[in-house]
């Protein structure tokens, strides 16, 4: 079950800042610890930038989620860009095609509790992450 779904476009640098701010607000509302808030906002920043730079822009969807034991936040990043041809390689620390540090995808995965990626060359990429309250 989920509620409070909020969507933001990820088309400009400024949108990446807006995604960070929205995720921070929801993380505080869900009562994530300060370290977990920081980890989730950092992961969201990496993934939003990927959506913009590699996906050619897209959308972020932030929602509060619950299971029977705890609350959390789910963020979905979706683009209709070129997709990722070699996922294992893209998830390797230090691998980059964009001149960055190659830590965005692999680092973001370490900062969240659940990480799912769906990608198809030519069709786009959707990444879903969840962080649960402890």
């Amino acid at each position: 079950m989920n509620d409070d779904v909020q969507r933001l476009p990820v088309v400009t640098d400024q949108d990446v800042v807006r995604v960070r701010q929205l995720v921070r607000t929801v993380a505080v509302a869900v009562k994530l610890s300060l370290v977990d808030q920081t980890k989730l906002v950092t992961a969201a920043s990496e993934l939003a930038r990927n959506t913009l730079v590699y996906g050619g822009g897209g959308e972020a969807e932030v929602s509060r989620v619950h299971n029977d034991r705890r609350a959390g936040i789910r963020i979905v990043f979706a683009d209709q860009g070129p997709g990722i041809a070699d996922l294992d390689l893209a998830l390797t620390d230090g691998y980059t095609t964009g001149g960055g540090l190659g830590l965005g995808l692999s680092g973001a995965r370490r900062l969240v509790d659940e990480f799912e990626i769906e990608t198809e060359p030519g069709k786009g990429t959707t990444i879903t992450v969840v962080k649960w309250c402890r």
Binding site: V17, R24, V35, T38, K39, V41, T42, G107, R110
Partner: protein, 137 residues
Amino acid sequence: MERVPVLKIGEILLVSIQIDMEDQVALQLQEDLAERIVATGVRGVIIDISALDIVDSFVGRTLATIASVSRVLDAETVVVGMRPAVAITLVELGLSLPGIRTALNVDLGIAMLARQDEDIDLLGYEDDTDQVAETTP
């Protein structure tokens, strides 16, 4: 686009990042600092990030580049004021900021720069005292 101000205090450039920077703002800061180092001839740069609630790989890389560029321009950079949660997150992200000197706050950062550059009066206190002494009848 917003811009992060660069202040010259004595022989130090002080940057206190108080906004959630767009990537372009971070790149602009990198350029502004290089230009100010050359224009002023300072030997030390302090970047205060105590107001930042996250440092992602882009900002981390920008800080590392600033440190490298200033070193090439004969100035040492110290990043100060990193929050504990930011430090934990950065390391988990895989960024340990090699090549960046850090201190807990601005005072300790100034002390660190002063130690490595003992002959230079970083904050210009000596000049001030001289001037006061000269103008006092």
